[in-house]
Structure formats: structure tokens, C-alpha cells
């Protein structure tokens, strides 16, 4: 079981709600993924009209909602979004996303740290989306974040774990769950992230933009479960040089080794 703050999850695949062709497809995919934590953008939620109302069906599925601050360009906007989420949804869980760059949606580390500190002080369960920066992740842990969500590669790019070297350091150092968010484009990449020891992965684009989202969601669920089992089982050590099946010193017979030992003894004697 994965524990974040006071909540336990048996599924380590987290999913999103954006980019689907319609709500039914989205709900079927989430259902098929087995995900128990689903993010949704505060900028999209509209409680005043029926349009875009994802909340009812999601809540009836029993999944935990993780509102996100996507669209926020600075700490102030993100904090406002978190407060709005608390007011509208009654949850203090927040996925902190601050990206002032609309091209690659790179997270702003400075504004993220500022917002994370303030929100943690206000009692929010803060899960910040960040670059795969080991120092930043430590700083975020220090200010009280419940988890960190470093990117594998740019959002929506399906490029996989381009930041693997740094993700390994983050996972090694963290005392809070590390959830790989953004860029995971294939079940094999999700499996790899889990084999590395990630606590969970968050996948949206790869499922939503698949021709068969429901089927792809199931593939991700299987891959994440397999990756986790592999991590727990302990992967075999990786050798960077070969274990030769025909050793170069194989010609040395037991007799020749004994005579070598005797000659050493004679010299020492």
C-alpha cells in the first residue's frame, strides 16, 4: 500500500482527466486503470452550470480527487487556486503546478517553493509538480510537502524518462513518496519508473490520446503493478563487463596451482 499523508492507495497508477474526447471515455478509462487518485484542473471546474461537470461521476466512482493548479503562472495564482479548490471541493489536497512558460510548460522552481511553503503552513497536503531537480525536491520535503512529482520529460510529450539519472537521485534521497509525473508515454516507461523505486506514476496524455483509452489504461495498470513487483523482488545486479563462459585462466589445472603455491611457500620459508 502507498501512503500519502493519511491516505492509503492500493493502486500506484494515478490518472488525469484532461484531453479525453468525452466524459464517458474518460470515466471508462479511469475505471479500467484502477486508479484511486485522479487529478483535475481547477480552471476547468464549473459548479455554476452543467457543462464540464466532472465532479459527480468521479465522486461516485469513489476515487480521491486531486485538484491541480494548472494554468497558474506564479505562487499567488496557485495559492488562490488551492484555496478555491478547498472552498469548492472541500479538500486540502492540491497538486501544485506553476508554469509561466506556455511552450514547454516547464515548472517554475522558485514560485513553486514559495507557494509550497505557504500552503503547507496552511495545512494543505501539497504535491508539487517539479523538474527532476534533487535539491529542489529536498527543499520541498523540508517545507512539508506530502510527496514530490518530478517530471520524466516535458508534459504531454510521451518521451518517457528523459530525466532518469536525476530521478534515481531523487528517489534515493527522498523520505516522502516520489511520483513520476509528466512525459510517460508508454506502459514500458511506467514499468521502468516503478522498477526504479518510484512510489507511483501519473499518466494522462498517453491514455487520453490513445486510440483505445480504456484498453491503454489497463495496460498501464498492469505495467505499474509489474514494475512495482519487480522493484520489491529486487532486480538483478547489472554488470558492465562480461562473465566469460570460457575463462581466460581455465588452462590452469589444480596441479599447476598447487605447485605455484608450493613454490611461494619455499620462497617464504
Amino acid at each position: 500500500m502507498l501512503t500519502i499523508a493519511d491516505h492509503q492507495f492500493s493502486s500506484r497508477l494515478f490518472t488525469g482527466t484532461g484531453k479525453f474526447s468525452d466524459h464517458n471515455t474518460m470515466l471508462q478509462a479511469i475505471n479500467s486503470s484502477g486508479s484511486q487518485l485522479v487529478t483535475l484542473a481547477m480552471k476547468r471546474i464549473d459548479l455554476t452550470r452543467g457543462h464540464d461537470n466532472l465532479l459527480g461521476p468521479l465522486q461516485s466512482m469513489g476515487v480521491k480527487l486531486l485538484p491541480n493548479t494548472a494554468g497558474a503562472r506564479n505562487a499567488k495564482e496557485a495559492i488562490f487556486a488551492a484555496e478555491l479548490a478547498y472552498e469548492m471541493l472541500g479538500t486540502k489536497w492540491i497538486k501544485l503546478e506553476i508554469h509561466p512558460d506556455p511552450k514547454y510548460l516547464m515548472p517554475d522552481p522558485i514560485e513553486t517553493l514559495i507557494a509550497a511553503q505557504q500552503l503547507c503552513e496552511q495545512g494543505y497536503i501539497v504535491m508539487p509538480y517539479v523538474h527532476a531537480d534533487p535539491v529542489l525536491c529536498r527543499r520541498l520535503e523540508e517545507v512539508g510537502c506530502a510527496a514530490v512529482m518530478p517530471l520524466g520529460s516535458p508534459i504531454g510529450s510521451n518521451q518517457g524518462l528523459a530525466t532518469e539519472t536525476f530521478l534515481r537521485i531523487i528517489i534515493e534521497q527522498a523520505s516522502i513518496p516520489v511520483i513520476i509525473d509528466a512525459g510517460i508515454g508508454a506502459p514500458s516507461q511506467a514499468c521502468r519508473a516503478m522498477e526504479m523505486g518510484a512510489a507511483a506514476v501519473l499518466v494522462n496524455t498517453a491514455i487520453a490520446s490513445s486510440a483505445y483509452p480504456q484498453q491503454m489504461a489497463k495496460c498501464f495498470a498492469d505495467a505499474v503493478a509489474t514494475g512495482r513487483q519487480a522493484y520489491l523482488a529486487g532486480l538483478g545486479a547489472v554488470n558492465h563487463h562480461a562473465d566469460a563462459t570460457s575463462p581466460l585462466t581455465g588452462f590452469l589445472t589444480e596441479a599447476s596451482i598447487n605447485s605455484l603455491t608450493q613454490s611461494v611457500n619455499i620462497k617464504e620459508g
Partner: protein, 355 residues
């Protein structure tokens, strides 16, 4: 001109590396790319779905006034045109807002003719509180303003400013803009810089396709977009691709943009700039709009009126231009869903803009 001497090999090379590459944009806009429209479309669809998912943002234009102090030979609002002039008062505006809200729209584009004295900052200051209270995303398409004025508008709730250059060729620009402040080509060209410096979220560019050679104008818009994105990296950008149609507004296109050309244009820009928002006008016919939707479009209007007060009184004949897609939003959405696309009514939270 390189645009017309581009070869099939240049286009094939461009298809390998189109993102952010102005040489590739040139090749993809060239006549040599016409046999490659299908592979361009295939790439464009994939890039659009990857970046924007199945979402298409919906908005409506709200015409504030058809008063204009310019003479532009392609526009129904031109000052010498003998049409009834109207500027919405606050009651009329409130009524228009109520109808648009009732239809479910949450994103609005305020439009007016360019009349600085009667529809200037004073007027905008009086109407914006009403508008920004009702809608989460407010865009404006009005006369170019100063940086400080845009800053002020931003505080009043404006999220986006659309300013279309119409044509990037100064001689052609001069020919079509014969009176009024809009004659100042450079002031208009510098407007996106002023909007960006004022901290407005989104900037919309556009050319009236056909005033000059549309391939060249589109390419120059690509250069403008590239400069702006590199200089003002925090802003979002959109383009609009209105076609000047034969016999509309009394002037004929210099180079006519066919339906196939429009597809080439949309796909070329999507390949050049995967994150660019591309808006589709109701000037186009319903069947074409439906077919263009999956190819790279991210935003569209549906059930639009292009006259002040037109949602309350649809037949007052004050239109800026004639609409070709008169379908109500519900019908457009049915077509959208048939193509596996998802209409998005709300995509912003205005409260985030508060100081």
C-alpha cells in the same frame, strides 16, 4: 522569391524538422508543399491531439459598437459606409451577456470598430466590469492602444488581446487603409509588443488572407510570431485565419485562398508551432468547418453574431461581415462530438487574475 522556388525535396526536409524552423515553415507554405497536404494533415492531427487532447475551446464574439473612424475597403464598419451605427449601452450589454451566458459560453471576445473618442478607454472602463463579472475569460479585439492602457485593461479583467495586422506588406496595407489612425502600419505592427509588455496573458495575431499573396503574408506572420514567442516567452499566442472571399466587401483577393490552401495553411502552422492556438471563423461554411476541426483547430465560435446587439435583435443589419455558418452552437457541438472532439466551455478561472 524563395517561396516559389521551393522544391519537393525542401518540403520533404521540412516535414522532418518543422517545429520552430522558419525555413521549414516557408517550405510548408509554398506551392511545392501542395502534394504533401495529406502527410502534413496526418502530422498536424497527431500534434494537436498530443498537445490539446480532444478539446476545442468555445467562445462567442460580443460586438460592442460598429462605430469606426477608419476607411478600410474590405470592412462593413468603414466610416463612409452608410449603415446604421450603434454602440451598446449598459442595459443593452447586460441583455446581450444574459443571452450568451444562457447558451453556456464562458469565454468572450469583445469586438468594436476603431473609434477612439466614442469607443475608447472611457467606454471600455465602463463596460468591462459588467463583462468580466460574467465571464471567466475575456478577450478584446479593438483599436491598438498604449502599453499603460493595456495594463489598465488587464486590471479590469482582460485576458487576451487580438490585433490582426491584416497584411504584412506596407504597400498593400497603405492601399487598403485609406483614412484614419489604422493607416499607421508600424504602430499596428508594434501593438503585440505593447500588449506583451503590459502583461496580458494571450496575444492573437492574424492576417486577412487574400489582401496580398496569402502565402507570403502567412509566412511573415510566422516570423512575427517567432519573434514574439522568443521575446515574450511567458505569453500564449493564437492566430486567426479569416479568408477574404471573392465579392465580399466589394474587393477581390489578390491571390485566392482555396479550401485546400486553407488546410495547407492550418497544417503548416501546426507543424511549425505545436502549442499555437488556432481559431476558426464562422466565415467558413458549415461542412468545411466540420472537416477542418480535427486538423489543428483549438478554438472556435458557434452561433455568432457580428453586430452590436445582434444576440437580442438578430436582423438589425449592422454586421461587420457575413457569416457562413449560421448553425446554433448545439448543432456545431453534435458535429464536434461525432469527430471525437470535446467542446470546452470553461478554461480559465477569472479569480486567479485578482490582485
Amino acid at each position: 522569391m524563395k517561396l516559389y522556388s521551393t522544391t519537393a525535396k525542401d518540403v520533404e526536409l521540412a516535414l522532418q524538422n518543422p517545429s520552430g524552423n522558419l525555413d521549414s515553415l516557408l517550405a510548408l507554405l509554398s506551392p511545392a508543399a501542395m502534394p504533401y497536404i495529406e502527410p502534413m494533415a496526418q502530422q498536424a492531427v497527431q500534434l494537436t491531439r498530443k498537445r490539446f487532447g480532444a478539446n476545442i475551446g468555445l467562445f462567442l464574439p460580443l460586438y460592442l459598437s460598429n462605430l469606426c473612424a477608419n476607411e478600410c475597403d474590405y470592412c462593413g464598419f468603414s466610416m463612409s459606409n452608410k449603415v446604421k451605427r450603434k454602440t451598446l449601452n449598459s442595459d443593452e450589454l447586460t441583455a446581450e451577456i444574459a443571452i450568451i451566458k444562457q447558451r453556456g459560453f464562458d469565454s468572450i471576445l469583445l469586438v468594436s470598430g476603431e473609434h477612439e473618442t466614442k469607443v475608447g478607454m472611457g467606454y471600455f472602463e465602463s463596460v468591462l466590469p459588467l463583462v468580466s463579472k460574467a465571464f471567466n475569460y475575456v478577450a478584446m479585439e479593438v483599436q491598438p492602444l498604449e502599453t499603460e492602457q493595456y495594463q489598465h485593461l488587464g486590471k479590469l479583467g482582460v485576458d487576451a488581446v487580438m490585433v490582426y495586422q491584416e497584411t504584412y506588406r506596407p504597400q498593400t496595407y497603405a492601399k487598403h487603409h485609406t483614412r484614419g489612425k489604422k493607416q499607421d502600419f508600424v504602430y499596428r505592427l508594434d501593438t503585440p509588443d505593447r500588449v506583451a509588455k503590459a502583461g496580458i496573458d494571450k496575444i492573437g495575431l492574424g492576417v486577412l488572407l487574400g489582401l496580398d499573396d496569402w502565402r507570403l503574408d502567412a509566412l511573415l506572420m510566422g516570423y512575427h510570431l517567432d519573434y514574439l514567442e522568443k521575446t515574450y516567452w511567458r505569453n500564449r499566442y493564437s492566430i486567426s485565419l479569416p479568408r477574404l472571399r471573392p465579392c465580399t466587401g466589394g474587393i477581390s483577393p489578390k491571390v485566392e485562398l482555396t479550401d485546400a490552401g486553407l488546410v495547407q495553411l492550418i497544417c503548416a502552422f501546426r507543424l511549425f508551432n505545436p502549442q499555437l492556438e488556432i481559431s476558426l471563423s464562422t466565415r467558413e461554411l458549415p461542412s468545411l468547418r466540420d472537416n477542418l476541426l480535427p486538423l489543428g483547430i483549438t478554438h472556435m465560435s458557434a452561433g455568432s453574431s457580428t453586430q452590436p446587439g445582434g444576440y437580442m435583435a438578430p436582423d438589425s443589419q449592422l454586421d461587420q461581415f457575413e457569416i457562413s455558418d449560421n448553425r446554433p452552437a448545439e448543432q456545431v457541438i453534435i458535429q464536434m462530438r461525432r469527430r471525437g472532439l470535446n467542446p470546452v466551455w470553461k478554461d480559465w478561472e477569472m479569480g486567479w487574475n485578482n490582485d
